[in-house]
Symmetry: C2
Subunit: 183 residues, 2 copies
């Protein structure tokens, strides 16, 4: 809050102070919503959306190879409605969450089934968000990207700068989104 | 509503009619909730819960082998709260939904990533439900089971009678539920 306080002191009259405060609030809005600046993931300033774990399911996925994870793709209400109604491009306010866990063989399930063929969600790896804001993220197709591990924002700028080039290879007809809604 | 109307006519006084109506309503409750009797899955009489696709996520899974599917396990509010708070046995009213789709390689994702390692939800296979009602399903640990394909109830009694023996091999400490809540 230090920048905000420094700004507010600059006005000499009450009116000027109010005007200055308002200007500062507007200028600081991108870093005020949802928490302090140090809670934002790098490059795009995306914050961990409150309650995202309880968002509705869009689809599931399994990424093999080096990642070897199981995934759930969840969405806020704007995202889910857009997926269900086929609205493209996605409207501003869309937030898509990709949760991932280790693709882990379940010994308990294998014992019950008589063979090892059951893979379940192991320890969580990271959570990624795609946030649609056509003005703020105009240079990246209207999408901002963030990543969190254990609730902590990832600030590896080189990593986060790989998000858009990869999504940019997805079909333009899907608004650069890989996931399709699972019925 | 024909049985209900026939019952209501049997009373000679208003009081008798009300009493008869109440008795009929109670007797008909198992087939009134959620639709007609022919909408229920076999053996346990489980019906497709309205809105289950928008329930919250409990976990994800990948069943390899012959099934070769990707799964999402969703729950109604009672189920999700019990999972989150660790309540066992699950309270009456718990409904757990297991959705499954073919474990399908995504050619589009493979083209974007430069290698085929991405599996997504293909066509849906079936949806199974575990319903907790300790009185109605007292003989099967308090659990009733149902299966639906394309929204239609499965009435293969031999198939549905395999549900409980398999769940009965899961740990009693988890109340015969295989799934754990994914953080």
């Amino acid at each position: 809050m230090l920048p905000f306080m420094r700004c507010a002191r600059s006005g000499r009259s009450v009116i000027r102070a109010v005007a200055a405060t308002a200007a500062c609030v507007i200028a600081l809005m991108p870093i005020m919503g949802g928490g302090a600046e140090d809670e934002a993931s790098g490059v795009f300033g995306v914050r961990l959306p409150e309650g995202y774990r309880d968002w509705r399911l869009i689809s599931v996925a399994h990424e093999a190879g080096g990642l070897d994870d199981l995934r759930a793709i969840l969405g806020n209400d704007i995202a889910v409605r857009a997926f269900q109604e086929g609205t493209r491009p996605f409207p501003d306010g869309t937030v898509i969450a990709r949760l991932a866990w280790r693709h882990q063989s379940s010994a308990a399930n294998g014992a019950a089934f008589g063979q090892a063929q059951s893979f379940v969600a192991g320890p969580p790896t990271n959570v990624q968000f795609s946030v649609k804001d056509s003005r703020r993220y105009a240079d990246t197709g209207g999408w901002g990207f963030g990543q969190f591990e254990g609730g902590k924002p990832n600030r590896d700028e080189a990593l986060l700068r790989t998000c858009f080039p990869c999504h940019d290879r997805a079909a333009k007809a899907t608004d650069r989104v890989f996931t399709h809604y699972a019925p």
